[in-house]
C-alpha cells in the first residue's frame, strides 16, 4: 500500500451517534429485505415531502466485469442506456405514471453507480411499489431500445455544447490512460450505436439483483411500514432467484497522468481551465480509508485554495478566477483525483499560477490553526446536509454503495490530523501528477497539444 492509505494508529471504524448534532444516527434504521436488498429509512420529522432513492453500484466505469465466471465487456454508455430503459414499460414511459401519482421521478448515472428516485407528498406506497417494480423487472423491447437510442443521441449532443462537461471530460482523459473513469458517462454517438438489447439485459441480470441494490427512504416515515412494504414487493417480483456471481476486473492504470495538457476548441467567449492531480488508491483499498483520504484532501484543498486562502484571493484579484471556481477530490474503485478550476480570462496563466501557488504551499506546509478552521466549517456544513431530504438521502446512499457510512463523518473529521493532511500535500500535490485541461476558442485552428 502506498503511504497515505495505511490506517493511522489507534484508528477504528463504525457508526457513531451524532449526539446533539442535527443529523442523528438514531434517526437512521436499516433492514435487509429478502433477496439481500439493503434498505434504510431516514426518519426526518417535520418534513412534508418524502424522497426515495434506490441504486446499484453499476456505472459508466464498469466496462468489463465477470458474471458467473465469464468475462463481459460492454460499450461506453451502457449503464446510462440501461438507466433510460428502466423507466420504459409496455405501456410507455413510467415517468408519466409517477407524474400521475403526483410525484416527480428521475434517475442519474455516475461513473460508479446508477440511481433512481422519486419525491412527493402523496401516494407514497404506490410510488414505492412502482419504483421497485421498474428497477427489478426491466424489459428491453427492440422498438423501445431504438426510440431511446435517438433520445440519448440528443442528450450526448447537448453535452457536446456544454463547456463545463467538455473541460471535465478532457481532464479525465488526460489524467487516465486506460482506467474507464476516463469514459464518457453517456458514451459517444458511435459507442451508443453498438449497445444491443442483449447487452442491456445481461447488465440488468448482473447488477439489478436485490443483493446489489441499496435503497434509502427519507421523510416523516414509519420505518417498519416501509420495510414491510418493500419486503412484500420484492418477494412478489423476485421470488428467490439466486444472486449472480459478480467480479470486478481491476483495470491496469499507471500512477502518472497519460498527458499533462489537453485542449478543447469550442467557440466560447470565456475560457475554462481545470488542474487535476492524479492519486493512486490501490485496487481493493478499504473503503473507510478512501473516505478518510477524501476528507483529508478536501480539508487540504480548503486550506490551499478555499475562499479564505491567500492564493484564491491573489487569483481572484488578477481576474484569473471568479465565483465559479471550485476545488474537490473524488474517488472510486482504483481511482482518485483532486480537481480545481473554473472560468477564467486566461486559462494558461490561471493553470500556471494555481500550480505555482500549490508548489509554494507545499514548501510552506499548513498550520494546525488552518486545519482547525476548515474542520469547523466542515462540521457545520455536514449538519446543514440534514436540511435537504433529497441531497442527504442521495449522498448517504452513494457512500453506502462505496461501503461506508456518511454518519461516520464527524468522527473521522475529529481524527484526521495535521500529519495526515500534510502527507497528502507532499505526495499527491506534486508536478508529475498534474494534468491541465482547457476549453477555449482556438482561433488559430491548430491541432490539440499533447
Amino acid at each position: 500500500m502506498p503511504p497515505g492509505f495505511r490506517p493511522p494508529p489507534g484508528w477504528g471504524r463504525g457508526l457513531v451517534a451524532g449526539g446533539r448534532e442535527g443529523l442523528r444516527a438514531e434517526d437512521f434504521q436499516r433492514a435487509t429485505i429478502d433477496g439481500g436488498l439493503e434498505a434504510w429509512v431516514w426518519r426526518r420529522r417535520g418534513f412534508t415531502n418524502r424522497h426515495v432513492v434506490i441504486a446499484t453500484p453499476f456505472g459508466a466505469a464498469d466496462r468489463s466485469f465477470s458474471l458467473d465466471g465469464r468475462v463481459v465487456s460492454v460499450p461506453d454508455g451502457t449503464a446510462h442506456f440501461l438507466e433510460h430503459l428502466v423507466f420504459q414499460t409496455e405501456r410507455g414511459s413510467a415517468l408519466g405514471t409517477f407524474s400521475r401519482l403526483g410525484v416527480r421521478a428521475n434517475a442519474f448515472t455516475s461513473h460508479t453507480a446508477t440511481a433512481y428516485y422519486f419525491s412527493g407528498t402523496a401516494n407514497f406506497a404506490a410510488a414505492l411499489r412502482e419504483l421497485v417494480g421498474l428497477v427489478l423487472t426491466a424489459r428491453f423491447r427492440p422498438e423501445t431500445v431504438e426510440s431511446e437510442r435517438r433520445v440519448i443521441a440528443q442528450e450526448i449532443r447537448m453535452y457536446e455544447d456544454d463547456p463545463g462537461t467538455r473541460v471535465h471530460q478532457a481532464l479525465l482523459e488526460a489524467l487516465y490512460s486506460s482506467h474507464p473513469v476516463r469514459r464518457r458517462i453517456a458514451g459517444t454517438l458511435e459507442s451508443l450505436a453498438d449497445i444491443s438489447p442483449a447487452t442491456l439485459e445481461t447488465c440488468h441480470e448482473a447488477f439489478y439483483h436485490p443483493s446489489s441494490l441499496v435503497l434509502v427512504a427519507a421523510g416523516d416515515l414509519e420505518p417498519q411500514r416501509v420495510f414491510d412494504l418493500l419486503s412484500k414487493e420484492v418477494t412478489r417480483l423476485h421470488p428467490g432467484r439466486r444472486a449472480p456471481k459478480l467480479g470486478r476486473l481491476e483495470p491496469e492504470e499507471p500512477p502518472l497522468p497519460a498527458r499533462h495538457l489537453a485542449r478543447v476548441d469550442l467557440p466560447v467567449k470565456r475560457p475554462l481551465f481545470l488542474v487535476g492531480f492524479k492519486d493512486t488508491p490501490p485496487p481493493g483499498a478499504d473503503p473507510w480509508l478512501l473516505f478518510r483520504r477524501e476528507m483529508a484532501t478536501n480539508l487540504l484543498l480548503e486550506v490551499l485554495l478555499g475562499p479564505a486562502s491567500p492564493l484564491y484571493d491573489d487569483l481572484y484579484r488578477r481576474g484569473l478566477v471568479d465565483e465559479t471556481f471550485s476545488a474537490r477530490y473524488s474517488t472510486g474503485p482504483a481511482f482518485g483525483h483532486a480537481v480545481m478550476g473554473g472560468a477564467t480570462r486566461d486559462a494558461d496563466e490561471a493553470a500556471a499560477r494555481v500550480q505555482e501557488g500549490i508548489r509554494r504551499g507545499r514548501q510552506k506546509g499548513i498550520s494546525a490553526k488552518d486545519l482547525e478552521r476548515k474542520k469547523r466549517k466542515a462540521r457545520g456544513q455536514y449538519v446543514e446536509l440534514a436540511d435537504s431530504l433529497e441531497g442527504l438521502a442521495t449522498l448517504f446512499l452513494l457512500y453506502r454503495l462505496k461501503g461506508v457510512d456518511l454518519l461516520g463523518y464527524p468522527r473521522l473529521l475529529e481524527e484526521v490530523g495535521l500529519d495526515e493532511v500534510d502527507l497528502v500535500l507532499q505526495e499527491l500535490f506534486v508536478p508529475e501528477r498534474t494534468s491541465v485541461a482547457v476549453v477555449a476558442a482556438d482561433r488559430t485552428g491548430g491541432l490539440p497539444e499533447v
Binding site: V103, V151, P307, R373, R376
Partner: protein, 416 residues
C-alpha cells in the same frame, strides 16, 4: 434574506447587477474577502451571499445569510449564529468596505468587479440553453423592460464608478421596497431581535414603498419567427406564448394547470409527443413566467428536425388552446402541480422566491397555501385560459438556417 427591488430600466440595470458583486467583497468590519471568509468559517461554514436577478419588470438585489440551525451544533448560544448572520447581511448593504481617502466604495473592488461583469456579459452565449431562452424573450418583449438581460449592458460599465455606485446603493436603501425573510426553527424573541437589527436599513416609511407591478406582455401583432446562427452541436428551439394572465388574475391557477398539461411534467404533451413518441429531443418542456403572463417552450433538437418539432409543438398548443384534453390528463396534472406546491414547504429558497413573485405581482401576501386554488380549479376554467393563449415568438439557435425558418436575427457579433 434581505431583498431590495427596483424597476428594471436601461439606466440602472447594470448598476443593479454590479452592486451586489462589489458589496460581497467586504464590509466595514470585515473589509476583504479573506477576512470575510475566515469569519464565516468560524461560524461553522455559514454562507453569506449577494446577487441580483430579474423578476418580471423588476430587478431584485438580495443579501443572504444561511447557516446550520440554532442548537444543531450543540452551541451554548444557538441564537448567536442567526444574530451574527443578520448583522452581517445588514452591514453588507448599509456599511460597505471603504478606503480612508475615498468617499465612495473601494475603487479597486469596483474596477475588478467591472472587469468580471464585462466578461460575464460577453459570455452569456456560452451557456447555449440559457442564451436561447434569453434571446427568445428578448425578441418577444422588445421595448419592454423585461427584454434587458439581468447582467445589464456592457456599454454602461465605463460610466460606473466607486462614487456613483455608492450613491446608487444609498438611493436604493432610501427608496426601494425592502423585504426581509427569516426562515428556520426560531422563537418569537429571536425574531424580534432580528427585526430590531433590520431597522438600520430603510428608515421610516419603508413599509409604504411600492413599485408599479410588472406589466403583462401584450398580445402579439403577428407570430414572429427568428433564426440565429451559431456553432452548436444541438439546435435549441424556444417558443414563447403570450397569455396575459399573471398571479393577480382569477384564471392564474388555471394557467398553472394548462402549462402542466402542455409541458410542466413528464406525463405532459410535449415530453410524450416530442421525446417519447418521436425521439426528437432529450428535453421538451414548458415553463410559466408568471409575472409576465408568458409561457416558454424549450427543446433541443437536430437542425433538420426543426419543422417537424415545431409542427408538433404547435399542434399540441393548438389542441390545448381549443380545450382538447381528458379528465384523467387534468387530474394527473393537478396531482403533480399540487405535489410541487406542497414540496416547496420544505425548501426555504422556494418559499422565499414564491413569495417574492406573488408580492411583485401585487398579490395579497397572506395566502400561504397556493395549492388550495389548484384543487378548486375547474376544467372549464382551464379551457377558458386556453382560449387566451397566443403563439408569439418562435426562436431557433442553430448551425444552419432550416428551410422555412424566419428572418435571421440582427446579430450582435459579440454574443455568439
Amino acid at each position: 434574506m434581505i431583498t431590495l427591488a427596483q424597476t428594471l430600466s436601461p439606466g440602472t440595470v447594470t448598476a443593479g447587477a454590479l452592486l451586489p458583486r462589489v458589496l460581497i467583497r467586504g464590509t466595514r468590519s470585515l473589509p476583504d474577502r479573506t477576512r470575510l471568509a475566515e469569519h464565516l468559517e468560524d461560524l461553522f461554514g455559514a454562507a453569506l451571499g449577494a446577487t441580483s436577478f430579474k423578476l418580471g419588470d423588476h430587478q431584485v438585489i438580495e443579501a443572504t445569510f444561511s447557516s446550520a440551525g440554532p442548537g444543531t451544533l450543540g452551541e451554548r448560544d444557538g441564537d448567536r449564529l442567526v444574530e451574527e448572520g443578520t448583522r452581517l447581511a445588514v452591514e453588507l448593504l448599509a456599511d460597505p468596505a471603504r478606503l480612508p481617502q475615498g468617499p465612495g466604495l473601494r475603487e479597486d473592488y469596483v474596477a475588478e468587479e467591472k472587469d468580471l461583469l464585462a466578461r460575464d456579459i460577453a459570455a452569456i452565449a456560452d451557456d447555449r440553453l440559457a442564451y436561447a431562452h434569453f434571446r427568445c424573450l428578448e425578441e418577444m418583449c422588445r421595448g419592454e423592460p423585461f427584454a434587458l438581460h439581468s447582467l445589464g449592458r456592457a456599454e454602461d460599465l465605463p460610466d460606473l464608478s466607486a462614487e456613483n455606485l455608492d450613491a446608487f446603493r444609498r438611493s436604493l436603501l432610501r427608496t426601494a421596497p425592502l423585504t426581509a425573510y427569516l426562515i428556520g426553527r426560531l422563537d418569537g424573541r429571536l425574531a424580534e431581535r432580528v427585526a430590531a437589527a433590520l431597522t438600520v436599513l430603510g428608515g421610516g416609511g419603508v413599509a409604504r414603498r411600492k413599485l408599479p407591478p410588472p406589466v403583462a406582455h401584450p398580445p402579439p401583432w403577428r407570430e414572429k419567427e427568428v433564426f440565429e446562427q451559431a456553432e452548436v452541436t444541438q439546435a435549441r428551439l424556444v417558443v414563447g406564448l403570450q397569455t396575459g394572465v399573471t398571479p393577480v388574475h382569477p384564471l392564474f391557477p388555471a394557467a398553472v394547470l394548462w402549462n402542466g398539461l402542455l409541458g410542466g411534467f413528464v406525463h405532459s404533451r410535449l415530453f410524450r409527443k416530442v421525446r417519447e413518441e418521436r425521439g426528437l429531443a432529450y428535453y421538451a418542456w414548458s415553463r410559466l413566467l408568471a409575472v409576465k403572463g408568458v409561457i416558454l417552450i424549450s427543446c433541443g433538437i437536430e437542425d433538420d428536425n426543426y419543422r417537424l418539432a415545431l409542427d408538433l409543438v404547435k399542434r399540441e398548443v393548438d389542441q390545448l388552446s381549443r380545450g382538447s384534453f381528458s379528465e384523467a390528463e387534468l387530474e394527473a396534472t393537478r396531482n403533480s402541480a399540487v405535489g410541487v406546491a406542497l414540496a416547496q414547504l420544505d425548501s426555504p429558497t422556494s418559499l422565499v422566491y414564491g413569495h417574492l413573485e406573488r408580492r411583485a405581482a401585487g398579490l395579497d401576501l397572506t395566502e400561504l397555501a397556493p395549492w388550495r386554488a389548484l384543487e378548486r380549479t375547474t376544467p372549464e376554467e382551464v379551457r377558458e385560459f386556453g382560449r387566451r393563449v397566443r403563439l408569439d415568438t418562435v426562436y431557433l439557435l442553430g448551425r444552419r438556417r432550416p428551410p422555412g425558418a424566419g428572418e435571421e436575427a440582427t446579430r450582435d457579433a459579440a454574443r455568439v
